[in-house]
Symmetry: C2
Subunit: 348 residues, 2 copies
Amino acid sequence: MQTTHSIIRFGPLSEFRELLSPERVVFITSSALREKASEKLPMERESGRWIEVPDGESCKTFLVLESVYHALLNFDAGPDTVLVAIGGGSVSDLAGFAAHTWKRGIGLILVPTTLLAMIDASIGGKNAIDIGYAKNAVGSFHLPTSIICDVGWLPSLPEKDLASGMAEAIKHAVLDSEEHVQFFEQLAETRIPLAELGGKTFEDLIRRSQAVKLRYVNADLYDSHERHALNYGHTFGHAIELLTGLPHGFAVAAGMGAANTLAVSRGTLDPVTQGRIGSLLRHFGLPAGIQEAFGMAGRTMDRRALLELIRADKKRRGNYMDFVLPHGIGDVRIEAIPVDELAEVLQT
Amino acid sequence: MQTTHSIIRFGPLSEFRELLSPERVVFITSSALREKASEKLPMERESGRWIEVPDGESCKTFLVLESVYHALLNFDAGPDTVLVAIGGGSVSDLAGFAAHTWKRGIGLILVPTTLLAMIDASIGGKNAIDIGYAKNAVGSFHLPTSIICDVGWLPSLPEKDLASGMAEAIKHAVLDSEEHVQFFEQLAETRIPLAELGGKTFEDLIRRSQAVKLRYVNADLYDSHERHALNYGHTFGHAIELLTGLPHGFAVAAGMGAANTLAVSRGTLDPVTQGRIGSLLRHFGLPAGIQEAFGMAGRTMDRRALLELIRADKKRRGNYMDFVLPHGIGDVRIEAIPVDELAEVLQT
């Protein structure tokens, strides 16, 4: 069930007529995307079975999930039905959970519409919904049969959304190799605005990034160890995201910067590499440290609140926390770090 | 994740102190069983974290599931928490789903308290909740790490509950072997009331029955083909259950009788074997045919409603339905049967 891999396909959505046959699939998308999705699909405007959910994270509630189940029931969705999620990470999180649990598992096709979803959220089978204030408290693993990447969605995205995706792409490059980081450095040198990168460059960038994530996912689908390396930048990142309200990628970028600072102070990372990663993040409009993130959000940095959130992190075990520490480009390790050392980073 | 097998343990609940350590587990049980469960457990009356849910099928709603998630959140249940379900098939259906989805999967221990749950519901990892009128519409596969069978629960069960369990036990015997059926025939000859069978006999009966179910489950955990044989008696059974309100096992017994009638009329089953199975079912107070089931429920048989329910069965493909047809004891096959032939059985 979880042993086969998803097939990643590139091309305009309109070319996947067979895969998206209205008789077999139920589409799920956010209200904001419904119109555009209909235009892009290879079918009549009003045909097909559609489930419309609220935009963004607010679709990941128990109430919306229940409405999705009732819609599937009304559509008489059976074991052969395929759920097609068109949207960002929130829609795929919700749809993935619904597909995993409807009739004990139906097919899932993901159509990511953001850069972040194409390189990250759509890969690896994780899904989730929120319970009260607990983000992603409930979820499962459910690999999509296909992921359709149509880069035609990207140019019209707000610059901030693209930059947010770039943060995870740069994270993957640092996890990967010198060559991958240089690819981004060369991209930065061209000074082309993100929205104008063009389909070919986007496709190249996305394929490289997906390959890195897939390597970690395939080594450890159920996220028991190796896959944790993908959390580079995320321990500080989650806390920053909560306190600043910045988009996910921005908070992760700042978290990577903070992890790098810790790594330099521990002597595992050289300052030159730290500088290179920082410049790259800043070039794409991302913060490369905690102070920068709070400044960008127009807020004063709250050290106490940050520290409290970090202490509440599930990865903490007593005075230690499993932390993703960079030792160099292509060499990122999971290490137990004293929580006090994390606190010190907040002073810098 | 699904590759390891559950460990089935026999013995009084009080002997499993280590497995049920209150620091590590959250108990979930029905209101009716809460008191008795506390008495049987190897711990202080008021210690432990408990989730109480409504009795029977009414616990399998989306609303109750949400309350379980909130309780897990309040108990700060993390990836290392183990959910311990004490109850019949409804509680384990709900708890299995919650365990599968909380934090993308936590440990599960099942403590079945009915005969049916010990030999059937607790084995094989299937769980489910209902959506509106759709029984088991949402669910997953989640194998418990341990199943604790304490036969001490059984003598105090109502005779009807025990008989209901016997139906699935006899079903397993017919799927299994001549020797297994003779075991029940000898048991029937003793004329000992079910509640007085005694721990040793119950344990023997349960172990035999579990072994049969495990054989099918291990051959096909995700229920794609071989496991369907366990549906013997269930196509008619589900319809009978819905229309008569009889306990599950009673309806399945009647469904087995109806399947046997069909098999005899098709020439795959000899009437002597049909007679033996019928006698066995009747000995334990179970109906061995559709008419008998309706009579037992004090209702007039509604052929039209039965036929409609059978036509609505998910296993139907056009004019054919995958049906579990007995060819003899130890030889039960899955065959495509014309729906019209099923209708004819209702005339008999």
